[in-house]
């Protein structure tokens, strides 16, 4: 019986392999750079539009915003750079400081939750809230975005500072649904306990870090209103 012999292939030269891998690598690099260059402006525009819409939703009186960061000396300073978690000062129609919009994130039940909240200097309270990104369980954890009584927490969530102005007078905490008795408490959601507690933790951590700095420095920021384009 004749056993079929495997086909003899001529050996592939090292140059041939080198040429194909490097050549295809170069072509692929060219493709990626070309697509990135042609879409970068549009992506940036989309990100700015998305952020502007979110800011308008959480702090409606703000007509324009200024991004701020912490300088090396711990003071607040303006920045032109775009950050993943921006802190923005919001200015109203008469160029007065109406509040700050702060992005924050922390661990939820499934993954990190990213939120945007608005702080009112006048009320010393959190007055707006929006979930930017969340992978919480549909129908359960995602109720933080839809549940009316939970959203109502942010009509005026007390976030005043202590007499030293260095920390929150009362930590922001989540309590069981229906057990809210204080203005700094978040009325939680039954069935989404971990997610609603995560929101309390995220807000408390972020507010403890940013509000003392904002209360101290935000009014001193030199604000120049955007000029109207002709």
């Amino acid at each position: 019986m004749n056993v079929p012999q495997p086909l003899e292939r001529p050996p592939t030269s090292a140059w041939s392999m080198y040429r194909s891998i490097v050549g295809i690598g170069a072509l692929c690099a060219l493709l990626i750079v070309a697509v990135y260059q042609s879409t970068a402006a549009r992506i940036r525009e989309n990100q700015e539009r998305f952020l502007a819409a979110a800011v308008a939703e959480v702090l409606p009186p703000a007509r324009s915003t200024v991004a701020v960061v912490l300088a090396d000396d711990g003071r607040l300073m303006t920045t032109a750079e775009t950050h993943e978690l921006p802190v923005l000062l919001g200015y109203g129609d008469s160029d007065d400081l109406v509040g700050a919009v702060i992005a924050a994130e922390g661990m939820g039940y499934q993954d990190n939750i990213r939120v945007l909240y608005a702080y009112s200097f006048e009320l010393q309270a959190i007055v707006g809230f929006k979930v930017l990104a969340s992978k919480e369980t549909p129908g359960l954890g995602d109720r933080i975005e839809k549940e009316a009584h939970f959203i109502a927490n942010f009509d005026r969530l007390d976030a005043r500072l202590d007499v030293d102005g260095k920390s929150l007078q009362h930590a922001i905490v989540t309590v069981k649904q229906g057990e809210k008795t204080e203005p700094w408490q978040l009325d939680g959601i039954t069935g989404a306990t971990i997610t609603s507690e995560a929101i309390g933790n995220i807000l408390n951590t972020s507010a403890s870090r940013w509000l003392p700095v904002l209360e101290r420095d935000a009014r001193a920021i030199d604000y120049s209103p955007p000029t109207e384009e002709p």
Partner: protein, 213 residues
Amino acid sequence: MAVKEITTTDEFVKGLWRDNPVFVQVLGMCPALAVSNTAINALTMGLATTFVLLMSGLSVSALRTFIPREARIVCFICIIASFVTAVDYIIQAISLELSRSLGAFIALIVVNCLILGRAEAFASKHNLLRSTLDALGMGVGFTVALLTIGVVREILGNGSLFGVAVLPGSFQTWTVMVLPSGGFFAMALWLLVVNRIKERQAAAEKHAQEVAS
């Protein structure tokens, strides 16, 4: 026995039904189950995968004489990853919300075995025309399969289709259908339907052959 000649139309049609990547080959299950919780997510993922299938199939077919056998996998992966990166940027430019809702699954198209499988088994051995038709057929078949799963999950899980309410407000939505397990339920349902139709087709063909002989 006469062997039926494979026409160019067959190359396209086989991916739609006979060799459907999801319902017959059971390939690309990760996106098929994970991203099909709404019809729009399923459609976007299907179109993105079709684009990558088509472009990588074209590139591999065009470069097949240039790529030595020993270096083919690294070259194919490089080509596929580049088109996935491109499609990721394009989706972000079209809609940031859509890109966010698909999350990491766009980047994970790179490891969809359907795409590497077609590049290795078909595009690297056939000309541009056949590779294009094969990629288009497989892509459309994949998109239709994802869409059918997504439609069932969104209607039952949210009471809506493409975000528009289609069931009365009194309908108690089946939350389980938008959870990961709902993907398995919808997939099983469609596999039942597809296999039943295929069985009946096979029985009818067998009967026709018996009558003819």
